[in-house]
């Protein structure tokens, strides 16, 4: 049987481990190159705006 404190301790370390992994998954996604289509789209939107 765990005491409440051991239980809390366990929860907080699991939380830290999960957060560390979440950050890695997110960072990996951030490392990916942003597709050109988005920059093209922004340029198009901007051109349309100034053509008004």
């Amino acid at each position: 049987m765990y005491s409440d404190m051991a239980d809390e301790k366990s929860k907080s370390s699991i939380k830290e481990q999960i957060n560390a992994n979440l950050k890695r998954v997110y960072e990996e996604a951030l490392q990916e190159e942003v597709p050109d289509r988005f920059k093209d789209l922004l340029a198009q939107l901007k051109a349309k705006e100034s053509g008004k």
Partner: protein
């Protein structure tokens, strides 16, 4: 060029639309966490950009642009999803988790196992964990973006973590960091002090 004696105010009257390029990477990472699919994520980011551009007058200057963009993105995601709703409603990922094949247990969990488990979560759970666990938003900011109470964000995040821990069979004393070099031992050694 001379350095100005006083630093210029960063928030001069800058059109927020000119700042959009700086958020594309984060938008795409958030979209990936919701869709778990590159093509769908790109479509979602595209829709978000168009909506943000045409509704830019609704953005309150001086507030967090990234949070505003993330809100548009997640609202678009859920409304698209509702439109083509044929899938089993499973917000807590109960069904998905029951299909999950537990990782082979040797005490060290590979990143690929974590990603596999993360994929099994419901989008709602992936969303809350991405917002508060990975992208560094506060519970309050996440609550604003998700249009729910702060308490709901906390309990949803806790349930999502519990679901992951359950799928990955995480228990105290196990270290899932595959490149363990003592750092995570230090984390555990700090006991519950940092619990917040």
């Amino acid at each position: 060029m001379k350095t100005p004696s006083k630093t210029a105010p960063e928030t001069e009257i800058r059109d927020p639309r000119d700042e959009l390029p700086e958020h594309l990477g984060a938008l795409r990472a958030f979209a990936l966490s919701l869709t778990r699919n590159g093509a769908s994520a790109d479509d979602l980011v595209q829709d978000t950009i168009v909506k943000a551009w045409s509704n830019i007058d609704k953005f309150e200057k001086g507030t967090n642009l990234r949070a505003w963009l993330f809100t548009i993105l997640r609202n678009t995601f859920y409304s698209d999803r509702r439109k083509r709703k044929r899938e089993v409603a499973d917000p807590d990922g109960v069904h998905a988790a029951s299909l999950f094949e537990k990782p082979a247990h040797d005490g060290r969990l590979a990143m690929s196992d974590f990603v596999r488990a993360f994929d099994q979560l419901s989008p709602e759970h992936r969303e809350v964990l991405t917002l508060v666990g990975a992208s560094g938003f506060s519970y309050e900011e996440a609550a604003g973006m998700m249009s729910v109470a702060v308490g709901t964000v906390k309990s949803r995040a806790n349930r999502a973590r519990a679901r992951l821990a359950e799928m990955l069979e995480l228990e105290e004393g196990e270290d899932i960091m595959s490149d363990s070099d003592g750092n995570s031992m230090a984390v555990m050694g700090r006991s519950g002090v940092a619990a917040a």
